[in-house]
């Protein structure tokens, strides 16, 4: 029996009073995930929006122990916390790192890969808002093709990001860790199920969660869910999970909608030419094909090899 939205406790462990922008996807993700993780949890955040909007001295929205050290070391710090708890007789406490896409795909990748290789007993949540939002919307390795950011501006000659989004979940999957999943703020039931599953497992667990940012993506705050749905329906975001490497797509669009339907809702893509949209559509088609083939190949991994 997995947890449903209506089973969630009233009480917030990430409380109202935080200072996130209206419609912030990350804040919604964190608040809901915390209800599943429960009180016996300690949290690490690197430098990112969540660091600032979750606690600014002397105020703090966290009702559980909370820790920050720097930007690039989420996995190393979470490791130190978990190992310390083991020596203090608190082996059952869950250690969770909430890092952004910049803190994960870019500057934090080295420590992340090492902790995954060591199969540290921690949960690493990458909330993916597809840019460095805290420092004012700069591109990251996780920013999609074509997107405007302040370091990939829509200039007269070059318009938006010229490179494609890095697939972090697949990188972590290649580390052979117990659990890897993607989720989305627009699919809370799916997200909570995955968090619950991760919580009840041991070893290194990784979730990459689509977390829209109205401020950085330039969209109205009341269409967060619609955008998140279109990301999945277009194939821009694949919802999957992999338990012990067995990859399964957890929501398969009946018929993928054109990527243009996703792009047109957000100001960050407004400048894109038809040619750019064609290039991105081509990338999505390929990515979707690859994810489907990967699923086919990995879903039925021989159990006798366990």
């Amino acid at each position: 029996m997995s947890i449903g939205i209506k089973d969630l406790p009233e009480e917030n462990l990430f409380t109202a009073g935080h200072t996130a922008c209206a419609g912030c996807g990350a804040a919604i993700v964190v608040r809901n995930i915390m209800k599943v993780l429960g009180e016996n949890t300690v949290i690490y955040t690197p430098a990112n929006c969540l660091l600032v909007f979750g606690a600014t001295y002397p105020h703090i929205a966290w009702k559980v122990p909370y820790h920050h050290v720097a930007f690039e070391n989420t996995a190393a710090c979470a490791t130190g916390m978990k190992r310390a708890l083991n020596t203090l007789g608190k082996e059952d406490t869950t250690v969770v790192g909430f890092a952004g896409d910049g803190g994960t795909a870019d500057i934090g990748m080295q420590a992340l890969s090492a902790a995954a290789e060591r199969n540290e007993d921690i949960i690493y949540v990458m909330y993916d808002n597809e840019a460095y939002m805290n420092t004012g919307i700069q591109r990251s390795g996780s920013t999609p093709y074509g997107a405007w950011t302040t370091t990939t501006p829509a200039g007269k000659v070059i318009k938006g990001k010229e490179l494609f989004k890095k697939d972090v979940a697949q990188i972590i999957l290649a580390h052979n860790v117990p659990y890897v999943a993607t989720a989305s703020v627009g699919y809370p039931q799916d997200m909570l199920k995955k968090v619950e599953k991760a919580k009840n497992m041991k070893g290194f667990r990784f979730l990459q969660i689509y977390s829209s940012c109205p401020t950085g993506w330039r969209h109205p705050t009341d269409i967060t869910v619609e955008i998140a749905n279109k990301a999945v329906e277009s194939g821009m975001w694949t919802l999957f999970e992999a338990v012990d490497g067995r990859m399964e797509i957890t929501h398969r669009p009946k018929e993928r909608i054109p990527v243009q339907d996703y792009l047109k809702l957000q100001g960050r893509f407004r400048h894109m030419s038809e040619e750019q949209i064609r290039i991105l559509q081509n990338w999505v088609d390929k990515k979707w094909d690859r994810d489907s083939r990967l699923e086919k190949a990995l879903k039925m991994l021989d159990e006798s090899t366990d």
Partner: protein
């Protein structure tokens, strides 16, 4: 139990005796043996700790900081490039007031790349808020790692501490060391029970919160005050250790044959041993020379150095690193402490950089130069490059 061991072994052994809960470390010459010895202790089942084999020194310091912030006694060790890679997180350790202990095997920081003794790795970290101890022999390595936890964890201090030892001269050289018995270590060093910072779901606390201008300046003042206050604790711990184990290091500085000395040389690290011999030789010739072993650069022994200056006619400072465009860092520190407190000549001697041997004759030169300064009342040369090709010394 007396055994003939390297400085690295002495450091690793003392960490085991300190019953550290968490070790996170990464190998680098000449510190590597510390990591390897701890690996052996753990795999042989004689050291009970969580040992995190991290992928870099940045992660080593990060994991150590977070383990300490969670409430565990944490240990790491490094050298040179590794210390530089930790730089960012060193400030977190002190800012969070975490009593981490870290031996640093002082080695050249590139370029040119080299692996031998030089203090240009630790000197740039003087502002990081760590207590900085410098040791002379392997016994002192062992003893200072244990004393370091007592000093660092004292409620009046709560600061991280580096124990600096010279590359190869100590790290890879064997000497007889009295290795502490577990019962003795436990008597000297109780377990760590933090009240100021820990991560426990039964009493939630934020450690490392984003902080606006209204509060940071007070934090800085408190950390500075704690560093000042550590002077008293360093002395107390030294005295208690001396009473329990019979080895007295003198606290912040150790004076050698300073009673009627006319000149004093201030040393850091292993050069002290060589200088002791030179002092004995020159004393036999009737020259009134004395030696001050500076054991700590942070907190700086300001009162002790002023007292030395008030008793001699010239003072010299030995350095194994250069701050380009000024002089040796230990010299800069001493001059700053002495400003307005003395008119005597002060000179700086740079030697042994990049691991070059510092010979008896080199130190003899320093003392003779100091005697000349004492006689003339003037500084012959402020910055003296000893035994340096193409430079007159």
């Amino acid at each position: 139990m007396k055994r003939v061991v390297t400085g690295n072994y002495a450091a690793a052994f003392a960490a085991m005796r300190a019953r550290v809960n968490v070790v996170a470390a990464f190998p680098i010459t000449p510190q590597t043996f510390i990591v390897e010895h701890i690996s052996e202790f753990v795999n042989d089942g004689i050291m009970d700790c969580e040992f995190i084999r991290v992928e870099s020194e940045h992660s080593a310091m990060s994991a150590t900081v977070s383990a300490s912030a969670t409430g565990a006694r944490a240990f790491t060790a490094t050298a040179s490039q590794g210390l530089a890679l930790m730089h960012e997180i060193l400030f977190t350790a002190s800012g969070m007031r975490l009593p981490i202990v870290m031996p640093v095997v002082n080695r050249t920081l590139a370029a040119p790349i080299g692996i031998w003794a030089e203090m240009n790795d630790v000197m740039p970290e003087r502002d990081a808020g760590w207590i900085l101890a410098f040791v002379e022999d392997n016994q002192e390595v062992h003893d200072m790692v244990l004393q370091a936890y007592r000093i660092a964890e004292d409620n009046r201090v709560l600061l991280p501490m580096m124990v600096n030892l010279d590359a190869f001269i100590l790290s890879h050289t064997v000497e007889p060391v009295d290795l502490m018995e577990p019962e003795d270590a436990d008597r000297f060093l109780p377990s760590y029970k933090p009240e100021h910072a820990y991560l426990d779901p039964e009493r939630p606390m934020g450690v490392g919160i984003f902080t606006p201008p209204e509060y940071i300046q007070e934090e800085r003042y408190q950390t500075h005050a704690a560093m000042e206050g550590s002077k008293q604790v360093i002395k107390e711990v030294n005295d208690e250790f001396a009473k329990m184990f019979g080895r007295d290091y003198g606290g912040l500085v150790e004076e050698y044959r300073m009673d009627d000395a006319e000149v004093a040389l201030l040393t850091l690290g292993t050069v002290t041993s060589t200088a002791r011999e030179v002092v004995d030789n020159l004393r036999a010739e009737g020259k009134k020379v004395g030696l001050v072993k500076v054991r700590f650069l942070r907190p700086y022994p300001t009162d002790e150095i002023r007292s030395v200056a008030s008793r001699v006619k010239a003072i010299g400072i030995y350095d194994r690193a250069i701050s380009y465009g000024v002089g040796g860092p230990a010299y800069i520190e001493a001059r700053s402490a002495l400003y307005g407190h003395t008119d005597i000549p002060i000179s700086n001697y740079l030697a042994g950089i990049g691991g070059r041997d510092v010979m008896l004759s080199d130190i003899e030169f320093m003392f003779n130069d100091l005697l000349k300064n004492a006689e003339s009342g003037k500084v012959r040369k402020e910055l003296v490059w000893i035994n340096t090709r193409g430079v007159e010394q």
